[in-house]
């Protein structure tokens, strides 16, 4: 489970995220959406421990990220929008490296399954430079899934993937949620969010604008009845 309470993050005088409170239950996929500069990336970076929040608390799998960061981080995985790969490790070495970091005892068998699933099997000895953008993204996803995280945070995970891989990736996200992971999916692809996410968190200028299922959000705004997520999103985030 991911529990966020009164999260605030300032950059000097600028408040990037303000008083954000929400939870993501095991098995749930929450879509994090908002216009450019709304604070999505800052929120995700705070949730995975890249940057410290100015105030507020974050719990991952029951562990306080600030007080007990090792246990909290051991339970999560973050797949950034730009794959962060080490240029001198091959595909399989990346997985072995991540396996050791997270103490995955059966790393070889899990890695074999993942490279097969993500169509990297014939590129195991390749360095990142020799991979296409989509393959790099697949490797970053494989690294994220290797230790079977209880909290999965994905920032535009489908960038660079081909249609077949997109379909498989959607299936993987839903499977992970079905097996009990709490998933946060940040994306501008509202169709994807609508398709995969059980609830949606809309933020703008660092503040929560709406949170709930699409039906719940629309129920609070009768004028949007019968509209899709795109219309709802624009109505919520664009100035009247």
């Amino acid at each position: 489970m991911i529990r966020v309470e009164h999260l605030r993050r300032n950059y000097g005088d600028f408040t990037a995220v303000s008083d954000l409170t929400f939870t993501v239950q095991p098995g749930e996929v929450v879509g994090l959406v908002g216009p450019n500069g709304a604070g999505k990336t800052t929120t995700l970076r705070c949730l995975v421990g890249i940057i410290p929040p100015t105030s507020g608390s974050i719990h991952i799998g029951g562990h306080d990220l600030l007080a007990d960061p090792l246990r909290a981080k051991a339970a999560l995985a973050f797949v950034p929008d730009e794959p962060q790969l080490f240029p001198h490790l091959t595909v399989i070495e990346h997985l072995r490296f991540i396996g050791r970091i997270y103490g995955v005892a059966d790393v070889e068998s899990r890695a074999a399954t993942l490279v097969e699933e993500l169509e990297l099997a014939d590129r195991q000895a390749a360095l990142p430079d020799e991979l296409s953008r989509g393959m790099k993204q697949k490797l970053a996803i494989a690294c994220g899934l290797l230790h079977d995280p209880r909290a999965l945070l994905l920032d535009e995970p489908l960038t660079g993937l081909d249609p077949g891989a997109i379909r498989r990736m959607k299936r993987t996200i839903l499977d992970r949620a079905a097996s009990g992971a709490a998933v946060i999916l940040s994306s501008h692809l509202l169709g994807l969010v609508e398709e995969l996410c059980s609830r949606i968190l809309v933020i703008q200028r660092g503040e929560m604008v709406a949170m709930g299922t699409l039906e719940e959000i629309v129920a609070e705004r009768p004028g949007l009845a019968g509209r899709g997520l795109e219309d709802v999103f624009l109505a919520l985030t664009e100035p009247a």
Binding site: R45, P52, R71, K73, F86, L89, F97, R100, G103, E108
Partner: protein, 575 residues
């Protein structure tokens, strides 16, 4: 040069400058800048009004420049020709690729842009160099311009030579064919110089006195062959060595002519490289067709040639202390990238081979080779931490990923420093112990002394290396906007200034860091020597070593704390 590219460079320089100025609002940066300025003023304060120290430095520079300057530059150029290494200076960033390559610009315009883009860095380096070389008779502005022309020419020579090297190494026959003229000219010049040096070594060994050595070397270098080979470098150096403004103009015109010739050569070399690259691309296409049509064996051989990924030296089990994975990764990085380490071993070996070929007393040769290995190995403790970067400096590029790992900061810091220490110390100890063994074989030292020295090296050098490397990592975290992060790159002439500043900062910190172990060793060692005699010195040494180990541990803890507290966004490590 089209106006918009100049506009781009102007904005780039201005924005960088403004950003650096804004950094000074941070007390940490402001204090460092102040200390740096004071240091500079203290050391080079007399640059405008010459003083005794300045005159001395200027005198040394002029003497050295006249006597050995052209030869040093020629050897530097030979290094670029033989080892390449600065081709990336013409590489475009992602933004430049997106905007410039898709724009209606010619290849020549883009090269002009890249060359001009390096000029602010060169000017900065030239300014620093002109201050260091204060005291030469030339007025400062003329000295500055002369050094700027010198560095700009060397910068272009470095890129062009590296392109020729790359064309010959990567593009086979087509690359060699297209760069045949410069390769033939370089080979002739190198042969002339090597022949002169070899003769000089033979003569000097027959009459080993410093005065004769200098005289003989200068005599041989002024013979027609070497003189022609060194002529461009003499022309380049001439304006910086001019006695006054009146005698400066003509040599300066000559240096400018060499610069212009280099510019034309660079354009031509790059065009040849591009053509050869295209031809190589077509060759690979045909290789692919060969695979498709069944010529698999040939294709596989070619692929094996291309892919030579070294197997990891260190094993990696799936479980155990997780920070070990960081150490494993960084050692593997060094293993797969450190051509400089290989070169460090190749160069002494090459000199050794030359000496053997020259024939002489076997003991002399062994002594020379042993001293070379020992001296070179020891020097690695000073320069190794500057060049070797398989530690946190490398990983700061991946901080967004590192921060998500369930790793204790202190374990991470120890693994980062440990990886670089292990790499550096391994290479160094091989050289040092080989040097000791060779010197022992030559009868220069007794086996018992050799054993003592080897044991001392095994104990002391890793600690000194760890101290230097931790200091470097601390600097990178304290001043991430001033210290280059990421992998080691073959820095060009435009990086000299920045490298000089970092080196001075490091040396100062390292000098400060050696004080506590020395004090501890002396405080315990001095009375111990009085009481116990020679064994007391040993006790003092052990105490100094333990103090140094303690200091490393404290610095690693400080590094961990800094890492933990560093906000990657505020520090500018991620956007």
């Amino acid at each position: 040069m089209t106006r918009h590219l100049l506009y781009f460079i102007r904005c780039d320089v201005r924005n960088r400058f403004v950003r650096q100025m804004k950094r000074l609002r941070s007390p940490r940066y402001a204090i460092a800048a102040l200390v740096g300025l004071l240091y500079f003023f203290f050391i080079f304060g007399g640059w405008m009004s010459p003083d005794d120290a300045g005159d001395a430095i200027g005198g040394v520079w002029v003497d050295f420049g006249r006597a050995a300057g052209p030869l040093v530059l020629a050897l530097l150029a030979a290094w670029w020709w033989l080892w390449g290494g600065h081709r990336h200076a013409l590489a475009l960033s992602s933004a430049e690729t997106n905007f410039l390559l898709t724009a209606p610009l010619t290849r020549a315009q883009i090269i002009r842009f890249k060359v001009l883009q390096a000029q602010p860095g060169i000017l900065f380096s030239a300014t620093l160099a002109s201050l260091i070389m204060r005291g030469t008779p030339l007025p400062w502005p003329l000295r500055l311009i002369s050094i700027a022309v010198l560095l700009a020419t060397l910068h272009q020579h470095q890129i062009a030579a590296s392109l020729v090297h790359a064309a010959a190494a990567e593009q086979g026959r087509s690359g060699l064919r297209r760069t045949a003229v410069p390769i033939v000219l370089f080979s002739a010049a190198l042969a002339a110089l090597l022949w002169a040096l070899l003769r000089a070594v033979t003569d000097i060994r027959a009459n080993p006195s410093l005065g004769f050595a200098g005289e003989r070397l200068l005599g041989l270098l002024s013979e027609p062959g070497p003189r022609i080979a060194l002529a461009p470098f003499r022309l380049l150096l001439a304006p910086t060595l001019a006695a006054d403004a009146a005698q400066w103009l003509l040599p300066f015109a000559g240096a400018c002519a060499v610069l212009a010739a280099h510019y034309l050569w660079l354009q031509r070399t790059n065009a040849a490289f591009e053509e050869a690259a295209a031809e190589e691309g077509r060759r690979r296409e045909s290789l692919l067709s060969a695979v498709r049509s069944g010529g698999l064996a040939h294709a596989l051989r070619a692929q094996r040639r291309r892919k030579r990924i070294a197997r990891p030296i260190l094993p990696l089990k799936p479980t155990g202390r997780n920070a070990y994975a960081i150490l494993w990764k960084n050692v593997l990085h060094a293993q797969r990238t450190l051509s400089s380490v290989r070169l460090m071993l190749i160069v002494p070996l090459a000199i050794f081979v030359v000496l053997i070929a020259d024939a002489g007393s076997a003991d002399d040769m062994l002594r020379f080779a042993g001293s070379l290995l020992l001296g070179g190995g020891l020097l690695l403790s000073v320069f190794g931490p500057l060049g070797l970067r398989n530690d946190l400096r490398l990983d700061l590029r991946y901080i967004e990923q590192l921060r998500t790992y369930p790793l204790r900061s202190r374990d991470l810091a120890a693994a980062e420093v440990g990886a670089a220490t292990l790499t550096l110390s391994s290479v160094q100890l091989v050289a040092v112990i080989a040097g000791i063994a060779v010197l022992t074989a030559a009868g220069t030292m007794t086996p018992s002394l050799a054993g003592l020295l080897a044991a001392g090296a095994l104990l002391i050098l890793p600690v000194i290396n760890a101290l230097g490397l931790t200091t470097q990592n601390l600097l990178a975290l304290l001043y991430p906007n001033w210290v280059r992060t990421g992998p080691a790159e073959g820095g060009g002439m435009e990086m000299i200034g920045q490298n000089m500043i970092v080196m001075v900062g490091t040396m100062l910190l390292l000098a400060i860091a050696t004080i506590p172990p020395l004090v501890a060793g002396t405080v315990v060692g001095a009375p111990a020597v009085m009481l116990l005699g020679e064994p007391g010195a040993f006790i003092g040494g052990i105490v100094a070593l333990l103090a140094a180990c303690g200091e490393v541990a404290l610095l690693v803890l400080w590094l961990a704390r800094l890492y933990e507290r560093t906000d990657p966004v505020a520090a500018g490590l991620i956007r």
